[in-house]
């Protein structure tokens, strides 16, 4: 990994499921992680046209296998990647990581390709959609999963998860993270140089990893994390977006409030170097907003989301429309997630609450979101690749007159222009550009 930028590790996809296998019974035979009895039951359910029952079972099995594999990396590490620093090693992966987050992690860690991640996301939405249909609605409208849809989900689950005895993780990724904690890197270290020219995803992840470990560790790991923080942050500062700068300031206030002298003085030293104390929140009021936004996202990405979004959205609305700077990024992401919905629509009870908050955003706040948050808000960018959320986005662009705002990012500007003209193809191009800029190019995973 010398003299090159860090790139996402892409899974080298061995052929798990040969082309031309199309009958459910034959496909199920390739599910190595399932028992013979389970494979047989799946085939029987397909034969009886009980597609939803079969797919629910397959999906739950696939997610359980994926999350179990992810948990072998350690819950703290997953917490760092998901920006959930409160995750503890003994937390249950099935409770702590949503299906959508598991798919995102699988893609970022090179366990599945980005195309397959997209298929998994679609499978997730389809499965969720049918599982949350009211019984009455399903009977009256004769809405049911089609055979082709079910076969497609079955194939996706087996090809990416259930057909693999073990899902390979990009070990280099874990090694880089370990180096941040086990070594004091020097400024001329190639890993530091590589990081500086790498895509934003790595900058964001490095900040997240270092802050999580500064908060939680003691002894040598803490000292290494602080030394590397003081080396890397001054170099990265000008390239970091406000979201990450607020994250640093917020962590400073957290360790300060917890009386962690060593961590506080280490972060303080870095903030003094970059004159970054404007990003330290004056109060910890933003904590309440961050927690409320996290609950909205959890409901949005969980089962029965259209029903479950309303309650946490009400809590967020009750906190008031003056969202503190440090929590604005995650709050905006949560509110937009509810408003844009997913490929099956949006929550009728949650959306008006989201509108209430979005209506209170000033043009300056929208400019801030479009310039500082959207290019790194992978949750929203991925959402915009689906048709219904994209349509809802077009309406937002019109309603809040984004075209009159001053945007600095070229792709964001073009996305707004194409959204105004409702040009789906062009919009898709600029969304892809933004995702590409965030993650960078892929490279093949190294297998040991």
């Amino acid at each position: 990994m010398t003299n090159m930028e860090l790139t996402l590790w892409d899974s080298s996809q061995k052929e798990i499921l040969p082309a031309g296998i199309n009958t459910p019974a034959k496909i199920a035979e390739y599910a190595k992680q399932l028992s013979l009895r389970e494979r047989k039951q799946i085939a029987q359910s397909f034969e009886a046209e009980n597609y939803e029952v079969a797919i629910n079972y397959v999906w739950n099995k696939a997610m359980a296998a994926l999350k179990k594999e992810l948990s072998t990396l350690g819950m703290k590490f997953l917490g760092e990647m998901l920006n959930k620093p409160d995750l503890k090693e003994d937390d249950n992966v099935f409770d702590a990581v949503t299906d959508r987050e598991a798919i995102r992690l699988a893609a970022e860690l090179g366990m599945v390709t980005s195309t397959e991640a997209m298929r998994l996301r679609q499978a997730h939405e389809l499965t969720t959609h049918f599982s949350q249909l009211e019984a009455m609605e399903s009977d009256e409208q004769n809405v049911q999963m089609q055979s082709e849809e079910a076969v497609s989900i079955l194939k996706t689950c087996i090809r990416n998860i259930l057909g693999k005895p073990k899902i390979n993780v990009a070990t280099e990724f874990v090694e880089f993270r370990d180096a941040l904690l086990s070594e004091t890197l020097k400024s001329d270290d190639y890993r530091v140089s590589n990081l500086l020219v790498s895509p934003y995803f790595f900058h964001k992840l490095t900040v997240s990893i270092l802050l999580a470990n500064i908060k939680k560790n003691i002894g040598a790991k803490l000292q290494n994390a602080l030394a590397n923080f003081n080396l890397i942050i001054p170099e990265l500062w000008d390239r970091l977006r406000d979201t990450e700068k607020w994250q640093i300031g917020h962590t400073y206030s957290e360790v300060h409030a917890a009386g962690q002298s060593i961590a506080t003085s280490g972060i303080k030293a870095a903030l003094l170097k970059v004159k970054g104390f404007d990003y330290v929140p004056e109060t910890l009021r933003s904590d309440t907003f961050i927690k409320a936004a996290e609950n909205v996202i959890k409901a949005h990405e969980g089962m029965n989301n259209f029903f479950n979004e309303e309650s946490p959205m009400k809590v967020l609305v009750k906190l008031g429309s003056t969202i503190p700077g440090p929590s604005f990024s995650i709050c905006a992401s949560a509110i937009l997630s509810v408003r844009l919905g997913n490929s099956y629509g949006h929550s009728f009870s949650g959306s008006p609450l989201a509108d209430e908050l979005l209506d209170s955003f000033t043009p300056e706040r929208w400019e801030y979101y479009l310039n500082q948050c959207l290019p790194g808000d992978i949750r929203i960018l991925e959402k915009l690749t689906s048709e219904k959320p994209q349509q809802n986005w077009f309406r937002l662009v019109q309603k809040y007159e984004f075209s009159n705002l001053h945007t600095k990012n070229k792709d964001v500007t073009h996305l707004i222009t194409s959204s105004v003209s409702q040009n789906k193809a062009k919009a898709q191009t600029y969304i892809s550009n933004l995702i590409q800029a965030y993650y960078g190019n892929k490279k093949k995973i190294k297998k040991s």
Binding site: H256, A257, A258, G259, Q260, S265, L272
Partner: protein, 341 residues
């Protein structure tokens, strides 16, 4: 022939280098600094002793950026004169309670003054640790009464002067010199993960309590059981477990305000007669304890009852006791603990 003898000249001479090294400009003229030191040494308002912490700086807003969850209250503006100090203290010192400190911000022609406070969370890093270790970025000097007849001035560049208004020798230890050792011993068996936070909390609690106490005697036991020699006293049936309370706050299972009641009790106990007893895992075991002084062996011919009790307790170090700390009424402190501890 009548001759006036004052230590003003000597004091001005002594703080001149300190003031120049700080580079805060007209605000830190030696005469102003001396006025502040002398006034704070015995500050009273309406007959009550007051112990305000005063911070001098050239940009309070910039300084407070380093302290999350702070608050500020601007009170007024005055000219840069020696009388200004009396005016500022008159208006601000009575407000300097419950974590509020006085700030004096100087520019070329005037002084702005008022109150500020640090975080409300009792676990938070003390203000001094944040403001007085900033390198040259934010210039701050603190002046405060550290004990009866003793004022300390500390600067952001690490300068420290201790001015005694008593017959103390030049080599006298700082009234708070052993506080760190005492706290280290009290927290020596607290789990590593939370030790730093627990130690910070207990250090600040003791610092505030000792400042207001008229002398104190504190022992640290090796176990959670108070030794027999201290059987005469109040043994808490349920010791106050500061380490556990802090852990609960860090785990967000309790609010930071849940620490305040224990803190108030500790202050009250230190103000009571007798010995305050801690264990080495951060528990407060008892107070108002007394030790029978040996009749055969005269431990110390000098000193009052507290000093003699201290000497007697020192004999028991290693036999159930891990450490003993004394602060006498005049602010002098001493500390002994098990060797190689």
């Amino acid at each position: 022939m009548t001759e006036n003898i004052t230590f003003r000249t000597q004091l001005i001479g002594s703080v001149t280098d300190f003031a120049e090294a700080c580079g805060i400009g007209p605000l830190l003229r030696p005469a102003i600094l001396v006025e502040l030191i002398v006034t704070l040494s015995k500050y009273r308002e309406e007959g009550s002793k007051l112990f305000p912490d005063v911070y001098l700086c050239n940009d309070i807003e910039e300084a407070l950026k380093l302290i999350p969850d702070h608050d500020i209250l601007h009170i007024g503006t005055t000219g840069i004169t020696e009388d200004a100090i009396k005016e500022i203290l008159k208006k601000c010192a009575p407000l300097a309670n419950g974590g509020w400190c006085i700030f004096i911000e100087g520019d070329v022609k005037k002084l702005n003054y008022g109150m500020f406070r640090g975080p409300l969370n009792p676990l938070a890093i003390p203000i001094d640790e944040t403001l007085l270790s900033t390198g040259a970025t934010v210039k701050v000097v603190k002046v405060y009464q550290v004990a009866e007849d003793c004022v300390e001035i500390r600067s952001y560049v690490g300068g420290l002067h201790r001015i005694y208004f008593s017959n103390q020798k030049d080599t006298s230890p700082s009234p708070m010199q052993y506080l760190g050792n005492l706290v280290d011993t009290i927290c020596s068996k607290v789990p590593m993960e939370t030790r730093e936070s627990v130690a910070n909390f207990i250090r600040e609690a003791l610092r505030n309590a000792l400042l207001r106490a008229h002398g104190s005697l504190i022992v640290v036991c090796k176990s959670a059981k108070i030794p027999k020699l201290l059987s005469d006293g109040v043994h808490l049936a349920q010791p106050i477990d500061f380490a556990k309370q802090v852990e609960a706050v860090l785990d967000k299972e309790a609010l930071p305000s849940s620490l305040s009641p224990g803190l108030s009790l500790l202050i009250g106990m230190l103000n009571s007669d007798g010995i305050v007893v801690f264990s080495n895992d951060g528990k407060l075991l008892g107070y108002n304890c007394f030790i029978s002084l040996p009749t055969k062996k005269v431990v110390s011919a000098q000193g009052g009852a507290r000093r003699r009790a201290f000497d007697a307790l020192c004999d028991r170090i290693g036999k159930g006791l891990q450490a003993v700390f004394i602060q006498s009424q005049d602010g002098g402190t001493d500390f002994r603990r098990v060797k190689n501890d």
